[in-house]
């Protein structure tokens, strides 16, 4: 009994930064609930500062822990009785999620969004859920954290309380609930087959291989359904364009990267230990995601909807590294996610900056904006070619590494399907240039409707966008720092 207690205390000590998030969440909720006459402006600024401080400090703590864990390669902490594993790769992903959250909060602040206090509270809980999701290897814990993330994101999506916003929220909720239900069913099947809830253990793999392959494949496919929903991969992708179109942009920016990062980590953990050959289904998911994402985006006239469909295509690309079941496949997926962080946050920031003056997210409203403001035009070109994956942006390096991993896997296994996915994925890059270049095309080529006025944005907003652009090009010119960091990550 005493042993269990000391184990729990030990585990809590290592998870202190995460628990801090929970405490802050409760503190904000209590403050809002129990104070009547609030000076709204000052309180929200206070919340903002508090959260940014918490994020930065926890980010630094994670980094310190990360350095500590890196030196001792075999060091993995089993916390809370094998429910949670704290290792270097989960710390890396926590840092990524912290950076995303920080960037989104700065986005909200810099663009002057009016948010209620509960926004901060729920955002904290969402990030906390993501942190737990990066650490877990137990089906039950995964489901709990996934639900925490899902419920918080359902609430965040409907913050604007407008009509199409609520419609998007309901769609999100219904699709999400269905996917979670399918996931639970899959988990129950897997538990029935293997008798254990820990999906990286030896028992799981052994018992799984004793069952007929087709039933295992169906069960695993259903299980990752809940995860693919968060990733916006086919066939769980239908919510993406509608939700992306109607939700306030900073929240969309966050949803487009942070849940994806956590889900990819879970998938990496799962597929590293799976003993069956899941590649056929994975290849079909990848090709379908890339095709549907790219071809649907060609017809879009709303920039946010177009980015939603492009997210579906990118989800397909992220899974390519998992299809190549070698270590460099996993490393290239992590590299792709890290660079996608910068690119997608920059893309949504750009769209929001443009919407400041044009008051609309339609492509037509972007006419001539690049001529009025050269920096925005240049930024649009760089971000859009990063999304396509052309040099000299880091999008190209990410895709190059993914397809190198896939080629290597093809060379060692000789399976023709991998080559098909490779050629398919690369040719789709050419298709995607057409819709991505539409944004700079409208901005630079078309004449503005009411003469040419010079439209300056603030220095802070320019600077914020510039940080992302700097990373996009810098990481192309010298990726070795990031690559070395990723190579040192070890799975539990």
């Amino acid at each position: 009994m005493l042993e269990k207690l000391s184990h729990i205390l030990f585990s809590s000590r290592l998870l202190l930064p995460d628990l801090l998030f929970g405490v802050v969440f409760l503190a904000i909720v209590a403050t809002i609930a129990f104070s009547q006459k609030l000076d709204v402006e000052r309180t929200y600024r206070l919340f903002n500062m508090l959260i940014i401080t918490v994020l930065i400090s926890s980010g630094l703590v994670f980094y310190a822990l990360f350095e500590f864990y890196k030196q001792d390669f075999e060091s993995v902490s089993e916390l809370f009785g094998q429910l949670i594993y704290l290792d270097s790769i989960s710390l890396f992903f926590k840092i990524i999620i912290s950076i995303a959250s920080l960037a989104v909060l700065i986005h909200v602040w810099v663009l002057g969004y009016k948010v209620v206090g509960e926004f901060y509270a729920i955002f904290m809980a969402l990030v906390w859920g993501l942190f737990i999701m990066t650490m877990t290897t137990n089906w039950l814990m995964l489901y709990v954290s996934l639900e925490l993330v899902s419920i918080c994101s359902y609430i965040l999506v409907v913050f604007n309380k407008e009509k199409d916003n609520s419609e998007a929220g309901i769609k999100y909720l219904l699709f999400g609930a269905t996917s979670s239900a399918i996931m639970l069913y899959g988990i129950s099947l897997l538990y029935g087959m293997t008798g254990t809830l820990n999906f990286v253990g030896q028992e799981f793999a052994t018992f799984l291989s004793q069952n007929p392959t087709w039933i295992v494949q169906i069960a695993v496919f259903m299980t990752i359904g809940g995860l693919l929903f968060k990733l916006s991969a086919v066939p769980f992708h239908s919510w993406t364009p509608d939700v992306y179109e109607a939700t306030p942009t900073p929240i969309v920016a966050f949803l487009s990267i942070a849940p994806k990062a956590a889900v990819i980590l879970v998938l990496i953990r799962l597929f590293s230990s799976l003993s069956i050959d899941f590649r056929m289904i994975m290849a079909i998911i990848i090709m379908a995601s890339i095709t549907i994402g790219n071809f649907s985006a060609l017809w879009q006239t709303n920039t946010k909807r177009m980015l939603g469909y492009s997210t579906i295509a990118h989800a397909g690309f992220m899974l390519v590294g998992l299809l190549a079941t070698n270590p460099i496949g996993i490393q290239s997926t992590i590299f792709y996610i890290t660079t996608y962080l910068f690119i997608t946050l920059a893309a949504f920031l750009l769209i929001d900056l443009m919407a400041l003056k044009t008051e609309s997210y339609e492509l037509e409203s972007l006419r001539g904006l690049g001529q009025q403001n050269t920096f925005l035009g240049l930024a649009a070109v760089i971000i859009m070619i990063a999304l396509v994956g052309l040099p000299p942006t880091v999008g190209f390096t990410g895709k190059l590494l993914l397809f190198t991993a896939l080629w290597e896997s093809y060379q060692s296994s000789g399976s023709n399907m991998l080559l098909v996915v490779l050629i398919f994925g690369l040719l789709n890059t050419a298709i995607s240039i057409f819709y991505y270049i539409n944004i700079p095309y409208y901005m630079i080529f078309k004449e503005p409707k009411i003469g040419v006025r010079y439209y300056p944005i603030g220095f802070i907003r320019n600077g914020f966008l510039l940080i992302f652009l700097f990373f996009i090009i810098y990481l192309f010119l010298s990726p070795s720092g990031l690559i070395n960091l990723i190579e040192s990550l070890k799975l539990a």
Binding site: N326, P327, I328, Q331, V381, I385, L390, P391, P392, F396, L400, L401, F403, T404, W407, E408, Y410, Q411, N416, L419, L422, I423, L426, L427, T429, A430, I433, F434, I437, Y441, I444, F445, S478, P479, S480, I483, E487
Partner: protein
């Protein structure tokens, strides 16, 4: 070995581009001068390079090597990408051509009035990128510049072009991008199949490299890799190396352009503004041909030897089909565009013959055609600048109003159709000689190519006669606008004419440089 001449050639224009971008717009008229000065300095550097080029050596000279990316692939080795530049006999003429054409282009860019800052910034970016493409000997770096060229070109055509410019620009971009992606597939496959012998021993692991010098050596291939030259691996029932070669042919054939992948060229050339057309026809097409020689034939000589008849066939079809199309055109610029397709077919024929005369002739034809097509597009630009009209039937008897212009036009047209003492003759002569000498190609292939010479004489002389001889008349009373050349145009056209006559009479200026390297290149076959 690490002198920085080649890096200067690339980074001076790029630095110039950044400078132009950050200067305030009040400097309106000085942007064109910045562009001109940068191009002049670049040309002087290239002439220094030309003088110091050792003509007896077939290896790469002026090599610069800096370590760039080292990525560990676990137990599969290390991926190594270097910043690697060098010139040998095959790309030296191309670098020289780039210097000349980019200078002519920047003189011609003085006519651009609209948004000069953006134009000159993009033009300098394009310059740096094209030269980078020619001097890179690391496949990744080559590919980086090869793809990056597309972006400034897209904007240059799409913003400063004529009526259907946006359609032409996006067609150009997507079409050539598909080609680039096919090349990317082969690039990934090759680098994964080759290991660098020196670094692998040094580091104790397999070092995958993109270095051109290592990729040509068959001993460097890793056993059981897909593209291994001796083990015949199959993909979908087709030998893997043949698969890669076909992808490369399609990829570079889109850029060259060879029939049937040529359909972007008439649109892009016609809609682009004059200086951009000059650069497009003068050097961009040569990048495709250079890729053919260096990469398709250089890295896959075994497959190339067996399947060179495909390339020769594409060449001959380009010659005849391009010429027939040119004969049918009413728009002057479109006619010149199709004649470009036709003359690049000679390059393919010369290359496919795999003889010393043929390949040397192909390189000479690339150089000569670059000069001549630059002149042709400048000619079309002179007419378009004055009247915004390019149709042949709208002009007659221009020689009486514009005698200096007619002289330049005559040199250009005769140069293109292959009059001796002008570059077209030497290029066509040597490529067809190579065709006849070739052990692989049958004689009738070269005879069909000669038919192309007759056809090019037909359309050029007919155009000359229709537009320049007879009584002076223009459609819709524009005779007043047809003034003779001004100083800038005289400088451009006459310096190009003089230089092409010199090249035509002294072809050794090019053959001396390419000779030894081509000999080494053909040793692999």
């Amino acid at each position: 070995m690490n002198n920085f001449l080649l890096s200067a050639l690339i980074f001076l224009p790029i630095a110039g581009s950044v400078v132009v971008l950050f200067l305030p717009s009040t400097f309106r008229d000085s942007f064109r001068w910045i562009s001109l000065i940068v191009s002049v300095i670049n040309l002087l550097n290239i002439l220094t390079l030309y003088n110091n080029f050792d003509r007896q050596v077939s290896n790469y000279q002026f090599v610069e090597q800096h370590e760039w990316i080292r990525m560990s692939l676990g137990n599969l080795g290390v991926l190594s990408i270097d910043y690697l530049l060098g010139v040998d006999g095959i790309n030296m003429p191309m670098v020289l051509l780039s210097g000349i054409i980019l200078l002519i282009g920047s003189i011609s860019s003085f006519t651009i009035e609209y948004r000069q800052k953006a134009y000159h910034s993009l033009y300098l970016l394009l310059s740096g990128s094209i030269i980078g493409c020619f001097v890179s000997i690391d496949f990744f770096l080559f590919f980086l510049f090869f793809e990056f060229m597309l972006l400034p070109m897209y904007f240059l055509i799409g913003i400063w072009g004529s009526e259907h410019r946006e359609y032409a620009a996006i067609k150009f971009f997507i079409y050539t991008l598909v080609g680039s992606i096919l090349i990317l597939i082969v690039m990934i496959g090759l680098s994964m199949s080759v290991k660098d012998p020196f670094f692998s021993q040094e580091m104790g692991r397999t070092v995958h490299t993109f270095d051109f010098r290592q990729l040509t050596d068959f001993n460097n291939f890793i056993p059981h890799s897909i593209l291994h030259p001796y083990e015949k691996q199959m993909i979908f029932g087709v030998p893997a190396r043949l698969f890669a070669f076909i992808l490369l042919i399609i990829g570079f054939g889109i850029k060259l352009p060879s029939v049937p992948f040529h359909t972007w060229l008439p649109d892009a050339h016609v809609e682009a503004p004059t200086p951009v057309s000059v650069v497009l026809a003068g050097i961009l097409l040569k990048v495709g041909a250079y890729g053919f020689i260096r990469i398709a034939y250089g890295f896959f000589p075994d497959i190339a030897y067996q399947f060179t008849y495909i390339v020769a066939g594409a060449g001959v079809i380009s010659i005849i089909y391009g010429a027939l199309n040119a004969l049918a055109q009413e728009d002057l610029k479109k006619m010149i565009a199709y004649s470009s397709i036709s003359h690049m077919g000679f390059v393919l024929l010369g290359l496919a013959s795999l003889t010393l005369e043929g390949v040397n002739g192909a390189i000479y034809q690339m150089f000569g055609h670059g000069l001549v097509s630059a002149m042709l597009f400048l000619v079309a630009g002179v007419i378009y600048d004055r009247t915004y009209n390019r149709l042949i039937k709208n002009f007659r008897g221009l020689s009486s109003a514009m005698p200096y212009f007619t002289l330049a036009v005559a040199v250009a047209f005769f140069g293109a159709l292959g009059l001796p003492t002008l570059p077209g003759f030497m290029g066509e002569f040597f490529t067809i000689l190579g065709g006849f000498q070739s052990e692989i190609l049958p004689n009738w292939v070269s005879m069909l190519a000669m038919l192309g010479i007759v056809l090019s004489a037909a359309y050029f002389l007919w155009t000359l006669q229709r537009m320049f001889f007879g009584t002076f008349w223009t459609n819709s009373n524009q005779e007043g606008k047809m003034q003779d050349l001004d100083f800038r145009e005289i400088v451009m056209l006459y310096s190009l004419s003089a230089f092409s006559i010199i090249i035509g009479i002294f072809p050794s200026l090019i053959f001396d440089i390419s000779g030894v390297s081509v000999k080494a290149f053909l040793n692999g076959f």
